[in-house]
Symmetry: C2
Subunit: 209 residues, 2 copies
DNA sequence: ACCTGAACACCGTTCAAGT
DNA sequence: ACCTGAACACCGTTCAAGT
C-alpha cells in the first residue's frame, strides 16, 4: 500500500498498474493477490490510508477560524498526496474520518445560527471548492483551462475575449492566495446568509409576540 | 465522436474502449484510426464537441444575475453530458469557448468594482464549485462520501460524529437547491468583498484629498 | 480514401501448482 | 501462509495488405 501510494503520487493513476507495482516490489504480479483481492481493493486501501492519516486537530477560535483551519488541513493533506485525491473521489466506501470535515463544519455553522439543511449545503460548497482547487493545482489546470497559455499561443483573440486577454494572470499563479481568497469569500457569504435568516427569525418572533 | 459521447455518457470513461466503440459502429477496431490519431485524440474531439455545444446566450440583468445564469448554463451542459466532464477536466487543450465563463464572470466582476486578481480568483471559486457539485451529482457522491449511507449502515457512531448523524440529509438530496444555495453564498461573499475594497478605496481617496 | 487481419506489448485476474 | 508460471480475455496501437 505504501509503495502503491508512492507510485500514484509520482506517476499518477493513469500509469499505475498492478504489474508495475509488483515489479517495483521485486515480486511476481500474482503475489499481490495474496494481500489484496484485486486492483479495486488495493486502491481502496490506499485511499483509506490517506484519509486516516489526516489530523484535523482541536477546534479553536470562532466558527470562521474553525472552518478555515479545517479546510486548510484537508487541502494540505491532498496536496501532499496528489495521486490519492482522484482515488478518494471515486472510492466506494471510505473510513469514518472522511466525515470529520463535515462534522466540524456543520457543527460550527449550526452554532453560528445557520439552519441544518443550509449548514450541510455550505459544507458541500466548501469541499467541492477545496477539492476542485486542489485538482486544478495538481492535475495541472495548466491543461485545457489555462487561459494564460491560450493567450500566449494566440488561440484566443482579443475581440471575443477582451477581459480574459486583459486579465492574463500573473505567473506563477499563487494557488495559496487563490485558496484563501475563496475561503474568505465563502465564509463572508455564509455570514451574510446567517445575518439574513437570523434577522428573518427575529422579525418572525417579533410578529409572534 | 457522437457515438463515443453517447457511450461515455451511458457507461462512463472507465468502461469505454476503442475496440468497444468500433464494435458498436460495426467496424474493425483499426478502422477508427483512419479518422483519429489515437484514443487520446478521440476523447479530445469529444470534449471539444461538448464545449462547443454550450451556448451562454446574452448577458442580461445585474452582475449577480449575469454570473448566476452563466454557471447555471455550464452546470446544465455538464449534467447533460456526465461522461464528458472528466474529459474536459483532463483535456490538454480545449476550444476557445471554454473561456466564455471566465470572460463573462471576470468582466461582470470588474464592472462591479472587484480588482483584476480577485475577479480571476472569484471565477475559479465558481468553476471549481460548479464542476465539483456536478461531479458529486453524476459520478455519485453517493460513493465514499455519502454520510446518509454511512449513518444508515452504522459505519459512523453518534459519539464521534454527533452533528453528522443529526444532520442526516433528507432523501432525495436536492442538488438543484444545493447548487443555488452555493451560488448565492459565493455571490454574497463577493458582494461583501467588493463593499470592503470599495470602502477601502474610497477612504484612501479621501485621505489623498 | 478507407477498411482489414495479424501481430505486439501491455493489462487485470484465475487457477493449479509449488514451498 | 505466501509465492510462482501458465493461461485467458481484454487493452491500445503498428504495419503491411487489400479495395
Amino acid at each position: 500500500v505504501r509503495e502503491a501510494l508512492a507510485m500514484l503520487d509520482r506517476e499518477g493513476q493513469q500509469r499505475f498498474s498492478v504489474r508495475r507495482l509488483a515489479g517495483r516490489l521485486g515480486v511476481t504480479p500474482m503475489a499481490v493477490y495474496n494481500h489484496v483481492s484485486g486492483k479495486r481493493d488495493l486502491l481502496q486501501a490506499v485511499a483509506d490510508a490517506v484519509v486516516d492519516g489526516i489530523d484535523y486537530g482541536e477546534a479553536r477560535g470562532n466558527w470562521r477560524q474553525t472552518i478555515a483551519a479545517c479546510f486548510r488541513t484537508l487541502r494540505a493533506a491532498c496536496l501532499a498526496h496528489p495521486g490519492a485525491v482522484a482515488l478518494i473521489e471515486s472510492a466506494d466506501e471510505l473510513p469514518p474520518g472522511i466525515f470529520r470535515p463535515m462534522e466540524i463544519t456543520v457543527s460550527a455553522l449550526r452554532g453560528a445560527g445557520l439552519g441544518p439543511r443550509d449548514a450541510l449545503r455550505a459544507y458541500f460548497v466548501l469541499t467541492t471548492f477545496t477539492l476542485g482547487q486542489v485538482r486544478y493545482q495538481t492535475q495541472g489546470w495548466a491543461r485545457g483551462v489555462d487561459a494564460d497559455a491560450a493567450v500566449r499561443e494566440g488561440r484566443i483573440d482579443r475581440r471575443s475575449f477582451p477581459t480574459v486577454v486583459g486579465a492574463n494572470p500573473p505567473r506563477p499563479w499563487d494557488f495559496d492566495r487563490a485558496f484563501e481568497f475563496g475561503v474568505s469569500v465563502i465564509l463572508d457569504g455564509l455570514e451574510s446568509q446567517i445575518g439574513r435568516t437570523g434577522a428573518a427569525r427575529r422579525s418572525a418572533s417579533r410578529r409572534r409576540r
